[in-house]
Symmetry: C2
Subunit: 223 residues, 2 copies
């Protein structure tokens, strides 16, 4: 009987060794699969952006396909990627922008408002009244806009999509900046950064409450 | 005697197999533990910054402790945190800045240059000659500076420390922006973002090579 018992011991030792051998491989494969399925969005857009046609992106829902015949390229560009990141909004969009005069970005924001997305805009009082500013059009469309009355500038350039994606960088939302300047925009699906920028937005939103506006604010010092 | 031999064979086989199979798992676990302990740097600085004394940070190495008696607070502020992030540089600092007139940030960059850190600066030609600009002082100190001659602005506001940490946001490096504006700066130890911004820096550095300067560039359109 003794030899038989030792055969069993040897078999068990071998089996255990095999199990230990395969287990980590199986776990790694499962973990890699999970990461493949869900990778948070991380993108960097550099400007100037190639000038491309964005009509297809900005089509009003239900309208006939644009099938645009214009001479502009119809491929992707930094601007089209920025528009896609914004147009992904389904519930809310917070905008905190120093200067906003880009017609395409203005149309994108109005489209989201028409779709029922809750849009809130904070901007700088010196730039919102300049020729070409989109702020007046957004207000006419019924979008809530608040502005500063400070000595300093409200110089942020960030957007928060569905309280999930932060879009921030050096880019003012103007055609000059998009087409001519060296600029960067980060598109980050990142809980920690979104939370910090949302807190900053809410602080400013409350501070710029129109009930606190004065009608003869001090002049700003020039930059 | 046979059973005794089988005992030895089985024990040795089992023991050896177990040791071989568990070793890689143990090593991976230890490595993961080490990475858990070393969390990459992630910080968001919001401005305007409280005005604080930064003399202690900007002391020349070997100089007597400042023991500053000024009336400013001597605690932390967004500016002091930005200075710390920059002064951590040991090997290299790339700066890509639209406007640079902050004396404290200028002193920090000169300190790093004196310590032997390789500093390279890219800036915008319209703003580098304005009164209070630090660019002339950096050039006098022997720091390499290159500027654009484009129609558009070199509007980036980022720094890369030791090819490891990216510092980027809406903040121009001016006293007005630091003390009066609503601004944000991200400090990110992130391989992917650092790589993308380093590539952008090197593209601009090469494009702004002084051998390519023309002496009567076109006027920029006004913003």
């Amino acid at each position: 009987m003794w030899p038989l018992r030792w055969q069993v011991v040897a078999a068990v030792a071998g089996g255990l060794a095999l199990a230990l051998e395969t287990l980590p491989t199986v776990l790694r494969w499962l973990w890699a699969g999970r990461r493949r399925r869900r990778r948070p969005r991380r993108e960097v857009l550099f400007f100037p952006s190639q000038v491309t046609c964005t009509e297809a992106l900005l089509r009003v829902p239900g309208a006939a396909p644009s099938g645009c015949q214009c001479n502009l390229p119809h491929g992707e560009s930094s601007l089209s990627r920025l528009l896609r990141a914004l147009l992904a909004a389904r519930a809310s969009l917070e905008l905190c922008l120093f200067a906003f005069s880009s017609p395409q970005l203005g149309r994108a924001v109005q489209l989201l408002h028409q779709r029922g997305v809750r849009v809130r805009v904070v901007t700088d009082c010196d730039y919102m009244a300049l020729s070409g500013s989109q702020i007046g059009l957004l207000r006419k469309a019924g979008i809530q806009v608040r502005h500063d009355q400070d000595l300093g500038y409200m110089h942020h350039k960030f957007a928060i999509v569905d309280r999930r994606v932060l879009i921030t960088g050096s880019l003012n939302w103007t055609t000059q900046a998009i087409q001519s300047n060296r600029e960067n925009v980060l598109v980050m699906e990142d809980e920690e950064y979104v939370r910090l920028f949302l807190e900053e937005f809410e602080r400013i939103w409350e501070e710029f409450n129109p009930t606190k506006y004065t009608f003869f604010p001090q002049k700003k010092r020039s930059r």
